[in-house]
Structure formats: structure tokens, C-alpha cells
Amino acid sequence: MSAMIELDIEKRLGEFHLAARLAAPESGITALFGRSGAGKTSIVNALAGLLKPDRGRIAVGGETLFDSERGIDLPPERRHLGYIFQEHRLFPHYSVKGNLLYGGKGGNGISLDTVVTLLGLEHLLSRRVAELSGGEKQRVAIGRALLASPRLLLMDEPLAALDAARKAEILPFIARLRDELRLPIVYVSHAMEDVVQLADTLALVDDGRIAAIGPVEELTSRIDLRPLTGRFEAGSVLRTVLRGQDATYGLSELAFPGGRLRVPHVDLPLGTVLRLRIHARDVVLANAPVSGLSIRNAFAGKVVEISPDRGPLVDLRIDIGTPAEPVMLWARITRRALHELKLQPGSPVHALVKTVALNRSSPVRREAETEAS
């Protein structure tokens, strides 16, 4: 993994102590996920040069931006990192076009025209900032950052201030930055749904530290990280490929190593890679094959791990993949069911999936070149 972002910094902010160490890959979206107050924004601010670490080192794309030992501290304006803030931070005394062009006219295949088309800003150019809706403002802010020709985009909860409808309006644009402009992005969020939809790499931030970093599918399936990935929202992330369409019933078949999931029709070309999120509470377990149920998505697997919870509910990690390519599924059942079914690590089990979270308005990944079969 060639590291695009190398960061190893310490900073004391009153009672809070930030000691973050991070090496994020060259491409795709790296999500910084954690509770509010965990230090996500501080890390991004340090990257941008808006927060000076007490000591440490920051490098992006091989260039050292900060090094306390060598006395290097590039000012923000010379770091060439685009920053999209939680609040749009548009300049109220400039028009939309004035804002867009504030940092430059683009370069590297990005021009005012491409940005305007990509973000759908055609009819907004001569408007004043106060006349824009929240979603429009955030789109202009993204365009403004892009036109300054950044080598990396920093996004600090760009959707947090928006309602669900506006959020659904922005998400596809962020996905297009990833897929069409191939711009590496560091994306701060405390919403696992957004992370799963957008990110390739997940960095879990906890109490000023990077607790873990790795592929989204891997980190979300680890029991020890569950307190950080979120218990309530617990679920697994599956990487699937669209393999077939069933016209008779209006279903699509999504293949993963070891099985196929049938979901309501997905209008995408065959071969498209789709990342699904299956909530632990939507998985039902049985110790024998079941018939006479309406649930059609059933997979044979075995129990890998059982969470050490003491409460009435426990989470089980079930492998429904192949010996070569395990596929992990989370299931949440009652402790009583666990005892009555006599489940323990290694037990064969049948997992029934009630629903699959596949938001139709959300962006889906297309990466035919890394397609799994």
C-alpha cells in the first residue's frame, strides 16, 4: 500500500490529547469515523495547516507539510489541499461564480465548465450566496475547492448540516469526485451509513487516537472494534457483483463468494460492484435448513465468533463464504436463543437475511477492474 497521507502528530488542546498516527492509501476515500469530540476535525485541520501540532510529521504524496524536528510548517495556502467544511463557508460578498473562482481556475482536467457540469451549477452562477439552498451552497463549496486544484480533498462532515433530502442530493456528487476525477478524499463522518456508501478505507478515531485503520468490510466485521463502529447500527458490509436479473419477479441477483442474494430490481449493468450493508438485527439464525418461510435469502455457514455481551442480546459473526474467501455476516439474537440453539464457535448454522439496506438513491461503486467473481 503506497501511502498518500502519512501523519504522526501530537497536540494538546486543553484537557484533550491528540496523538494520531495514520497512513492512508493513494486513492479512494478514507473515512475518519468516530464520536463527536474524538478528534476527527483536529486531524483534518492539522492536515490542512489550520491547527499546528505540538510535534510530529505530516506528509502528503511524498511532500512534507509539517515536521516539528526539521522546523517545517507549510502555511495552508501552500499545501494544495481542498477543504470542504461542515458549514459551507462561502464568501457572502461574492457571487456563486466569484466564490468558485476564488482559489483558481482549475487545471489537471478540471475547469470551471467541468465543475459546473459535474455539480449541476449552471443556473446558479450569477446568484448570490444568500439565495442558495443548503444543498446548493455545499455543492458550490465543493466546486470552489476543486477549482483550486487540490491534490487531496478534505471533507469535514459535509453532509451533517443538511437534511436527508439535501444529503441524498450531495452524496452522488461526492461519489463522482471519487470515480470520475479520481481525487483522493479524506472524509470525516459520524454516520456509518455515509461511510459504508462512500469509503474504501476506514480509520476509527477514538479519544484522539486512530484506533484501527483498514478496508471498510474488514473493520466493520471485527467484534473488538464494535464499540467504535457502533453497536446500535451494527451490521456487516458485503461486497457483491450484480450477476443476473430475474424479469419475472423483478429481482436482481447479487453474487458474493459462496452465494447469491436476491434483492428488488437494481437498474444497473451486469458486473457492477455493489456494496451492501446488512444490519445484524435483520439476520435470523436457524440450526437446520428451514422451509415454509417467506424469507428467500438463506445461507449455510458457521459461527465464527460470539460477542461477550452480558445483556439480553448477543451478536454472532457468521461465515457464509467459501474456505478461500470468507464472507462475514453479523447476526443479533437473544441470549436465550443462543442457549436453546446451543450455538458456539464452529457450529453450523443457517443465516436468513430479512432485508438488505440498498438505498436506491445512494451512489453505488462501479469498479469493474477489481471485480470479484
Binding site: P75, E77, G82, P92, H93
Partner: protein, 230 residues
């Protein structure tokens, strides 16, 4: 419509007011910046010094200026030798006295508006590649423009009305240092000057009102602009 004496005093007042405001603007901006944005030892002292003319009797300010910038004063002698400038008993001295007296008002207004500038916008501008200077010129200055305007108008009005420090520093010389208030004062000292004094009073009031109304109108416009609504 105006008598020669009146128009002479009015024009002199306008000139003194304009010159004192134009020359104190950059310094006022710098001091407002220091007070609003910087922490340094002696900040309280600087703050006190700037505000001193607001609370001191004007005659004290005038006398101090006389001692410092009179022909034999340390500053006055130096300025005369190096630049050939003298403030003694001429309209430039009146402008200096007005500028010092009006300075606290100007700084206060500018400092207040600077403190209201959203620093997050400045940070955003820097991530877009703007250095300190560009940020100041394109973000900070436009966003604090209503405060600069208010400060300038207040200082202008204060300058036009300056009396005590001026008369102490540069005396009351017709055509040179006899501004509106000084002319008015002179008229009240001679028998039968009441009617002329009234006319000057009305001119003063009209001038002050015009300045305040103009400032209000321009400030509204600027405010709409920087809110992005106009």
C-alpha cells in the same frame, strides 16, 4: 447665501475633517487590528492610550500637542528639520488635534467590526491558496467595510466639531485655524454676535445630520452587500 466668514469656516472645517480622517484611517486600522487580533505585552496600555482622548479634558490634549509639536517641541522641531512640516498655528495642526481627539471613536468602530468578521471564512480562503495579504484584502477588509465607514464618519463628525484641543494647540486664527466651532465661539464673545452665531449653529447641525444620514445609507448598502442579499 453664506457670508464669506461662514463659507471660510465651513470649508476649513471640511478640509480639517477630511484630512484628519484620511491620515488617521491606516493607523486606526492597524491599531484596531492589533487590539482585535493580537495578544502582546502592553496591550492594555495601548488600549488605554488610544482611548485617553475620550476621557481627558480636550485642553490637556491640546496642551500636550503644543508641547510636543509646537515650534520648540521635540517632535515639532524634528518634523520641521526633516520634512519641512510644521503643525504650529496652521490648519494642519488643527487637523492633527482633530485626528487625535477622533481616534478612539474610529478605532472602536473598526475594532468592533473586525471582531465580527467570521474567522472561519478567512481560514477557508487560506485553504484556497490565499496568503495573509490576499485574505485581508479580499475577505477581511470587505467584510469589515461597514465598520470602517462608520468609524470614518464618526471621526469626521468629531473632527468637524473639535474645539478645545484645537484652540489650545493652534489658537483661533481666521482663515487658518478658525473652524466652525471656533468661529462660533468667537462670535459669542462679541456683543451683537447672536444672530450670526445662530446661523453657524444651524450650519453645524445640518453638516452633522448630513454626515450621519449619508453614513447610515452607505452602511446599509454595504451591509446588504456583505450579507450577500443585495
Amino acid at each position: 447665501m453664506l457670508t464669506p466668514l461662514e463659507s471660510e469656516a465651513l470649508l476649513l472645517s471640511l478640509r480639517v475633517g477630511l484630512v484628519s480622517v484620511v491620515f488617521s484611517l491606516p493607523l486606526g486600522l492597524a491599531v484596531a487590528w492589533l487590539l482585535a487580533r493580537r495578544e502582546f505585552p502592553g496591550k492594555i496600555l495601548l488600549n488605554g492610550l488610544v482611548h485617553l482622548p475620550l476621557v481627558l479634558p480636550p485642553v490637556v490634549v491640546g496642551f500636550t500637542l503644543l508641547v510636543l509639536f509646537g515650534r520648540n517641541g521635540a517632535g515639532g522641531a524634528w518634523l520641521y528639520q526633516v520634512f519641512g512640516i510644521t503643525f504650529a498655528f496652521n490648519w494642519k495642526g488643527a487637523a492633527l488635534a482633530s485626528a487625535v481627539m477622533a481616534f478612539p471613536l474610529m478605532v472602536r468602530a473598526m475594532r468592533l467590526s473586525l471582531e465580527n468578521v467570521d474567522r472561519r471564512l478567512e481560514a477557508a480562503a487560506r485553504t484556497l491558496g490565499a496568503n495573509h495579504l490576499k485574505v485581508f484584502a479580499t475577505i477581511t477588509l470587505p467584510l469589515m467595510s461597514p465598520g470602517i465607514l462608520t468609524g470614518a464618519i464618526l471621526a469626521f463628525a468629531r473632527s468637524v466639531g473639535e474645539f478645545g484641543a484645537t484652540i489650545t494647540f493652534v489658537s483661533n486664527i481666521p482663515g487658518e485655524t478658525r473652524t466652525l466651532p471656533l468661529a462660533l465661539y468667537a462670535l459669542t464673545q462679541v456683543p451683537g454676535g447672536d444672530q450670526a452665531a445662530w446661523r453657524l449653529t444651524i450650519i453645524s447641525v445640518l453638516l452633522a445630520m448630513a454626515a450621519l444620514i449619508a453614513s447610515e445609507l452607505v452602511a446599509r448598502r454595504l451591509d446588504r452587500r456583505i450579507r450577500g442579499a443585495g
